[in-house]
Amino acid sequence: MELELRFFATFREAVGTKVVSREVDDGATVGDVLHELEASYDGLEGQLVEDGDLRPQINVLKNGREVLHMDGMDTTLEDGDSLSVFPPVAGG
């Protein structure tokens, strides 16, 4: 299945672009995709997952809704879903 992945701020720089279409296995969860992303992009390594869970310093949205309030890392994905991954920024 194909997902639309969207990145912001430092994550966007690590990936090199804001939006990526990515083919993942049917039945993949948010956790599967985050692990794959860490493995695919050097700049994302260690940035998304901590002790098997979402890092508390980031936020992940499935179709514009926080996965934190779904099933977190176990949230299931379907073909055409959009996943947004963003860090906080602090500049002023």
Partner: protein
């Protein structure tokens, strides 16, 4: 200003506000009676101070421990070439004195820290977080929420910005990002650069939110995170919810910042 009605000069100065039903003389009076803490008088703080002062927000408390540098002037529009070397809080005060005699600026040439935060936030109707580091941002969130004061949050990175308004009863910044990145994990403006006009966009959004909070008008940007992308010229908002496990606004909240470590991830000791 309390108890006084608007004088003729004020009726003239604020006529474009007063003529609108959503503001009116009562709303303008609320602005004149308002007290807002502006944390940081840099890129975001400059337009915030500028517009809140022009709007006639009666008392601005400006906290910043930096001095104006020439490299600030590409974006920090209340400071001028002659202000290089002057404390930003002092320069902000001088700017407001030229702009609007109705506004009093309380300038604090210091960094907001755990010792002074509570007294700076107390008695304010709203806080505008225009700071430039995570430690201050988590401290502002925590102290303001404990005091029941709303925060207009804004932050910038190169060509992108994030804004949200943290209103008591709604989610706080920790609901969105439970912990701060480690120092150095997200580079600052001096390292990455920043488009000069970017903080103008985000700062005016924060000032808009502060004015709305004082007026009680419209819907605050609460439970919504606004992303601005200058390169795409796009705005999008995504909803977020209160986290029942949030240590600051969840089901079992802290009652003071005593056990919060404002270093590293700004976590809370068990």
């Amino acid at each position: 200003m309390s108890g006084l009605s608007l004088d003729a000069t004020q009726l003239d100065r604020y006529s474009r506000h007063i003529i609108m039903d959503e503001v009116g003389p009562e709303g303008q009076k609320r602005l004149l009676d308002g007290r807002v803490l502006v944390v940081g008088a840099g890129g975001l703080g400059a337009p915030v101070v500028q517009y809140l002062a022009a709007a006639g927000v009666g008392e601005l408390v400006v906290v910043d421990d930096d001095v104006v540098e020439r490299s600030n002037l590409q974006r920090q529009v209340i400071h001028a070439d002659a202000d290089v070397g002057v404390p930003k809080a002092e320069s902000a005060k001088a700017f407001v004195e030229r702009l609007n005699p109705d506004v009093t600026v309380e300038a604090h040439e210091t960094r907001l820290d755990r010792e002074n935060a509570e007294s700076l936030v107390a008695d304010c109707d709203a806080v505008v977080d225009a700071s430039d580091n995570f430690r201050t941002r988590y401290l502002v969130n925590d102290v303001a929420r404990l005091a029941g004061v709303p925060v207009a949050h804004g932050a910038i990175y190169k060509f992108e910005g994030q804004a949200t308004t943290l209103v008591p009863g709604g989610p706080c910044y920790r609901c969105l990002f439970p912990e701060a990145p480690e120092p150095g994990e997200v580079p600052d403006c001096a390292t990455t650069g920043v488009l000069g006009v970017l903080p103008g966009v985000l700062g005016t959004i924060q000032a808009t939110e502060a004015v709305k909070l004082l007026l009680g008008a419209g819907d605050p940007l609460s439970g919504r995170l606004l992303f601005y992308d200058a390169l795409e010229m796009s705005f999008e908002t995504v909803p977020y919810r209160q986290n029942p496990d949030c240590p600051v606004c969840g089901d079992d909240p802290i009652d003071s910042i005593e056990r919060v470590e404002y270093t590293g991830g700004c976590g809370i000791a068990d």
